[in-house]
Amino acid sequence: MDRREFFKKSLLTGVAAGAAMTLGDYEKLFAGNVPPPGKPGSFDLVAVKDGEPVAMFDKAIESFGGMKAFVKKGQTIVVKPNIGWDTSPERGANTNPDLVKRIIEQCFGAGAKTVYVFDNTCDNWSKCYENSGIQKAVKDAGGKIVPANTEGNYQEVDVKDGKRLKKTKVHELILSSDVFINVPVLKSHSSSSITASMKNHMGIVWDRGYWHRNNLNQCIADFAAYRKPDLNIVDAYRVLSKRGPRGVSVEDVVMMKSLVLSRDIVAADAAAAKIFGIEPDTVPYIKLAHEAGVGNMDLTKLSINRIKM
């Protein structure tokens, strides 16, 4: 019986069993590779592979009990993709627009009042929004695409327990919205070896230069402790394997056709690192955040639902 079969069977029989046991105990019992047969929503992490972005996401979110596990009726949502670069979707430098669109649709399906989408881009923001295909995707799904190019929209916050980052300016929508869904794209990165969930936070703050000047990896870990997204959705469909985060040509892209979902930002990045082909503890900020107790990079300690399409 392989994992998947086990999982399928457990799903059928496991509702009662899952209800009988407390989640914490159960996790300890099945620490490691065996996925729990529990009710939807009991997983720490869901990974999907070999499907199209939209189908993979639909499947993955089911494992958490659907979008309504995260979004309640009438809530305001921020969906934060990576829209950092003025490149086309094929180049893998920005989050997949189809995925973004589907997430917004699911948010509205769960009763969301408003879904905001923005990124403090690196290249010229309007060109990024347009050429990434995300502006259109957001509009088609009925979300609000918000320019994030004005310092006035950012408010200074204290980063509690930050070792290097004590204060930083955060976009007001992150502070005012009910739910924050982080939708990074997995890429190689010249500054931080890879980028995924935690590094994606650099698009919700104003002054990135400060982070770069003051121990970048520590700042990334510090901020991850300050604001944990309610859900991290790592797009690893087209993975920019080299010359990231911008990439030079489509030749830099590898079709990994994967997707990772987790409430735990460190776990999500750890799984992303594995998909990328490196060990999570070789990525400094993942290690730092793990040590600071932001989340868990040890995937063997987590209940993971692995879905092959």
């Binding site: 003025d86 290249d123 190019n149 500054s191 070896s193 230069g209 121990n215 993975v239 985060p245 594995k274």
Partner: protein
């Protein structure tokens, strides 16, 4: 004469030109198409002339049309196409509404000054310097006012409106940066606008008839134009109503004469005259020396003026030549400063610094349309003759890899059109790395912001100490876009900067594919965890 309707036409045409011209300078959302911009600026005299002198093409022959028009009807350009002219008319109109000071009166021509300035501008142009033309060209002066002053005001209005809309949860509008990067240019435009308002209120179109080289040149031509505005001496009752309306202050009621070389063809006098005694008359073409006695007398008077101007002319020429020489040597005197390009980086399409600085009249249209605002006015970095010419300011922004907007709009041809394909391998400068102030070396913490932003990966991170990596520049594939310099977080000096090329070069295409043996990202059968 029933020609008062001409004024209405003039007002409509001038407002159409003015509103659209202002709009292309403040239009941050790029709502105006390229063809629209080109059509609108086709008739601008100095840009068209400069463009034509280079290419002798019909595409740049707008100034010939203006010359022909002037040869028929006088300085129509000055009251319709010229944005500085219309700006002055608007100021005059407003001042008439709010003050009840006495309107205009006749003033004597300042031929000495105006012909000296024209002569000097032509002289320095022959010496391949744009000095004077760039400072005095009415289109470029108006452009500077629109770009440096009107644009921030428009942006501010937009930003306030966008902020209000945000309160109602609408993001239909977006804010644009109103940060003034180039203060000298801003202050110059401010001072010039102040001066022109002062002059208009007191002396009407004084600038156009004393300083403006285009006005003086067209004025010379209108002296021999087919149709000229004249007074009907029999009808004239010397009431002086026309004089009060004459912004050019060129109607001499005592002599019952109109100095048509100074007339800006605004036609205000037509309607002002209760006797309808002033209007266009068809003139016999008079070749100097063969005219009537009256004509000869006029010529003698003019000659007197010219004699006076000749002396001044040589004086000013001497000053001008010195200025040109001084401005040409300005580059040589500068000491090389670390982390700062020896010469300013000039935009793609400009070719070389000589071409650029001798053709740019600093109208700041490129500054206005640049989507990233990497193009910013300089002060004296290009020397005295290149006052306020824009440069690539990599501390303000960096050049978008896929954009050729400035090359398309430049009306003088200082920046020549290039394709995106051409631009992708055009090297306008190269990145230079200053190792000792780089974050990685100085603080031993990871950075890599430069490499992150590099569109060709000419700046690559290579192993340094432990897991740390450090930038390395491959100058062959660097295009000099300045992304690395802009992104570099070190303060106050950047650890990576673009050293400008005086002549733009060809860069190699970035590698399509790189092999990295250390990290292998490839699809697997099973999950890797």
């Amino acid at each position: 004469m029933q020609l008062a309707f001409l004024k209405k036409i003039r007002v409509v045409v001038s407002l159409v030109f003015f509103v659209f011209t202002v709009f292309i300078f403040i239009d941050f959302a790029a709502l105006t198409g390229l063809q629209m911009i080109k059509t609108l600026l086709y008739l601008q005299f100095v840009p068209s002339l400069l463009n034509f002198l280079k290419f002798l093409s019909v595409g740049a022959a707008g100034f010939i049309f203006i010359l022909v028009l002037t040869f028929f009807f006088g300085r129509v350009y000055c009251s319709t196409v010229c944005p500085l002219g219309t700006l002055q008319d608007i100021v005059a109109r407003i001042s008439k509404k709010i003050t009840n000071r006495k309107r205009f009166r006749f003033s004597k021509p300042l031929n000495g000054i105006r012909y000296s300035i024209l002569g000097l501008a032509v002289f320095v142009l022959l010496l391949h310097s744009i000095f004077l033309l760039s400072l005095l060209d009415p289109y470029s002066l108006a452009g500077k006012i629109f770009s440096d002053l009107f644009r921030p005001v428009w942006y501010l209005g937009n930003n306030i409106l966008s902020r209000i809309l945000q309160l109602f949860d609408s993001y239909a509008l977006y804010s644009v940066s109103i940060k003034i990067v180039s203060w000298p240019s801003f202050l110059f435009s401010m001072a010039f606008l102040g001066l022109i308002i002062f002059l208009v209120v007191r002396k009407g179109r004084w600038y156009c008839n004393v300083i403006c080289p285009v006005g003086t040149l067209l004025g010379l031509l209108s002296k021999i134009s087919f149709f000229r505005i004249r007074m009907d001496e029999d009808a004239c009752t010397s009431c002086g109503l026309c004089v009060k309306e004459c912004k050019a202050e060129c109607i001499d009621i005592k002599e019952k004469k109109v100095d048509f070389s100074r007339c800006v063809a605004c036609y205000n006098c037509f309607g002002a005259c209760p006797e309808k005694g002033i209007g266009y008359r068809l003139e016999k073409i008079r070749i100097p020396g063969f005219g009537s006695r009256k004509g000869r007398k006029e010529e003698e008077e003019n000659a007197k003026g010219n004699e006076f101007s000749r002396r001044k002319f040589f004086g000013t020429t001497l000053i001008g030549t010195t200025a040109v020489l001084a401005s040409k040597t300005a580059f040589a005197d500068k000491e090389k400063q670390q982390g700062v390009s020896e010469i300013p980086v000039i935009p793609p399409g400009a070719g070389n610094i000589w071409h650029y600085t001798t053709n740019c009249t600093a109208c700041h249209l490129c500054v206005s349309v640049c989507p990233t605002k990497v193009l910013q006015p300089t002060f004296i970095e290009f020397g005295l003759s290149g006052l306020f010419q824009p440069k690539m300011d990599y501390h303000a922004e960096y050049c978008n890899f896929e954009c050729v907007k400035c090359t398309e709009v430049c009306p003088t041809g200082a920046i020549l059109p290039i394709t995106k394909e051409q631009k992708s391998t055009l090297q306008i400068g190269v990145s230079k790395f200053i190792r000792n102030i780089c974050i990685v070396v100085a603080k031993h913490t990871a950075c890599g912001a430069c490499s992150e932003h590099c569109p060709t990966k000419a700046v690559e991170m290579v192993p340094y100490l432990g897991t740390l990596t450090i930038p390395k520049v491959d100058e062959k594939i660097c295009v000099g876009c300045g992304a690395c310099e802009y992104a570099c977080p070190t303060k106050p000096d950047k650890a990576i900067y673009v050293e400008a090329h005086s002549y733009h070069r060809q860069a190699m295409k970035p590698k399509k594919k790189v092999e990295d043996k250390k990290i292998i990202t490839k699809p697997t059968e099973e999950f890797p965890f």
